[in-house]
């Protein structure tokens, strides 16, 4: 049973991976470990409902509406409960759904939601969200789903976010070695830093 479950997870991951924009940059996912730990979150946050395409019943909210710090800080940030409530206090239609009730329980108790980290890098690695967002979203004007998807996979189709990319050094370098155009309308190209000291702290 365990094996079948693993195989199923692997297959789902493979199809989702193939659908993501940066699929060609990533090596094939070969082991179940590459999918990351199957993390159980305190609330099963439906990413597809919030960030998904309208045709799939999603709200098409920009990732950076909630993960505010991605464009101006090293870390993307997890939104405070306040942010969830900011919208949900005026969305009466889903108020009695179990997830939303749970959300309001945290809000009434004045407690933060103990989200667990899915994309966890080792402590000796420095990944800077700001640099990547600035480069690909603001300078090159690519769609945010694509830019975030380079590392996070197709989150807009997920419920609880799960790791789709290996996030290993070789995988980072496979993209850093490629030549990318420096801006949307430029033929000039450049590649990411190749200095050990830039990412290793």
């Amino acid at each position: 049973m365990q094996h079948i479950l693993r195989l199923f997870i692997l297959l789902v991951g493979l199809f989702a991976g193939a659908g993501s924009y940066a699929a060609d940059a990533a090596p094939k996912l070969t082991t179940p470990d590459d999918l990351g730990p199957q993390i159980e979150q305190p609330i099963e946050f439906p990413h597809f409902r919030h960030a998904g395409d309208a045709k799939d019943g999603g709200m098409q909210i920009n990732c950076m509406y909630c993960h505010t710090y991605a464009r101006r800080s090293m870390v993307a940030g997890i939104p405070p409960v306040q942010k969830c409530i900011g919208c949900h206090q005026s969305i009466e239609s889903v108020r009695d759904k179990p997830r939303i009730q749970k959300l309001f329980e945290y809000w009434d108790a004045k407690k933060p939601i103990p989200w667990k980290k899915v994309h966890d890098l080792p402590d000796f690695v420095r990944f800077n969200h700001e640099r990547h967002i600035q480069r690909f979203y603001f300078q090159q004007d690519r769609p945010y789903q694509e830019v975030c998807g380079y590392c996070h996979g197709n989150v807009k189709a997920m419920t609880v976010a799960q790791r789709q990319k290996p996030l290993t050094m070789g995988w980072c370098a496979s993209c850093h070695q490629k030549d990318h155009p420096v801006s949307a309308n430029s033929t000039e190209t450049g590649h990411g830093p190749n200095d050990c000291f830039t990412c290793h702290k």
């Binding site: 420095r126 600035q134 200095d195």
Partner: protein, 293 residues
């Protein structure tokens, strides 16, 4: 990047050695417009050790204790060296005259002796002119420390965070998250507060401007009560450190400084062990006053 890539492009990862055919590193081909450098005014320095303490706090340095210190296992990236006036004879000094102080940290040599001897390429030159030390890559051979003329590389002889418990609860809360907490068996050294220079470069890049003096201070510079330490980008002629180097006629690219000294205008700038040709990035300003007190 793979090991094969590292081997193929070995010359890119290794800086030119001073005894190379060229005689000096290839300065024209410098890969970036940033070269971090420092200058330290020994006349201002009172030997108060504030810089050293600030460095301990900023860079997650373990306090090893008296016994390990006496074994030469202290981890002070920034240390104050004392030199006594022995004019009365060797071994005899006038304690009343006090010591001469010399803050000593990694000199971030442009042709660093440590870089050429690392068997695994764990220490190499960065674009902004630092000698990097990659802790995960380090295997602890300690060749770099043996080859360092300044003796500013420090080896982790113990597992300080876990076994030695140098940061018991709640002291671990003050560890700097921008840096690795090093473990047993790796070499470490001053990085010119890389986490700070990195942030400064990052912010400047987002704002689309070059790095300025006001963007970054090292921890030792920030703590120095007399402002003896100046730090900045040597390639920016407007920076304080570049102005000081220029006024003292110390050039990064020369191992023998030809100084044009006018009468009554003695220049004080020098770099330590320049004659070994490591091209260090720290300029010291000679002390002129007679005694420390």
């Amino acid at each position: 990047m793979s090991v094969s890539n590292l081997l193929e492009n070995w010359s890119k990862f290794r800086h030119t050695h001073p005894v190379d055919d060229k005689g000096h590193p290839d300065w024209e081909a410098y890969p970036s417009d940033i070269k971090w450098a420092m200058s330290i005014d020994l006349d201002a320095c009172t030997g108060c050790n504030a810089c050293s303490v600030a460095c301990y706090a900023e860079n997650n340095l373990p306090v090893v204790g008296k016994e390990k210190y006496s074994h030469g296992q202290a981890m002070h990236w920034m240390r104050i060296e004392r030199y006594w006036d022995e004019s009365a004879g060797v071994g005899e000094f006038d304690a009343d005259k006090g010591a001469r102080f010399l803050p000593m940290m990694c000199q971030q040599c442009e042709a660093a002796p440590c870089e050429t001897v690392c068997p695994v390429g764990a220490t190499n030159h960065t674009e902004d002119g630092l000698n990097s030390q990659i802790y995960n890559r380090c295997i602890g051979s300690r060749y770099c420390s043996a080859n360092c003329p300044y003796k500013v590389r420090y080896f982790n002889w113990y597992n300080y965070p876990e076994q030695e418990k140098v940061w018991p609860e709640p002291l671990n809360q003050q560890l700097n998250p921008d840096l690795t907490v090093r473990t047993k068996g790796v070499m470490e050294k001053c990085t010119f507060c890389k986490q700070r220079t990195y942030t400064a470069r990052n912010n400047a890049k987002t704002e689309g401007r070059p790095v300025q003096d006001s963007d970054v201070q090292t921890a030792c510079q920030e703590a120095c009560p007399v402002g003896a330490i100046t730090f900045g980008n040597l390639f920016n002629p407007e920076s304080q450190v570049a102005k000081q180097w220029k006024s003292q006629q110390v050039e990064l690219t020369k191992e023998v400084q030809d100084k044009d000294e006018k009468e009554g205008n003695r220049l004080r700038g020098y770099r330590i062990l320049e004659e070994l040709r490591p091209y260090p990035s720290v300029m010291y300003l000679e002390r002129v006053r007679e005694s420390a007190v």
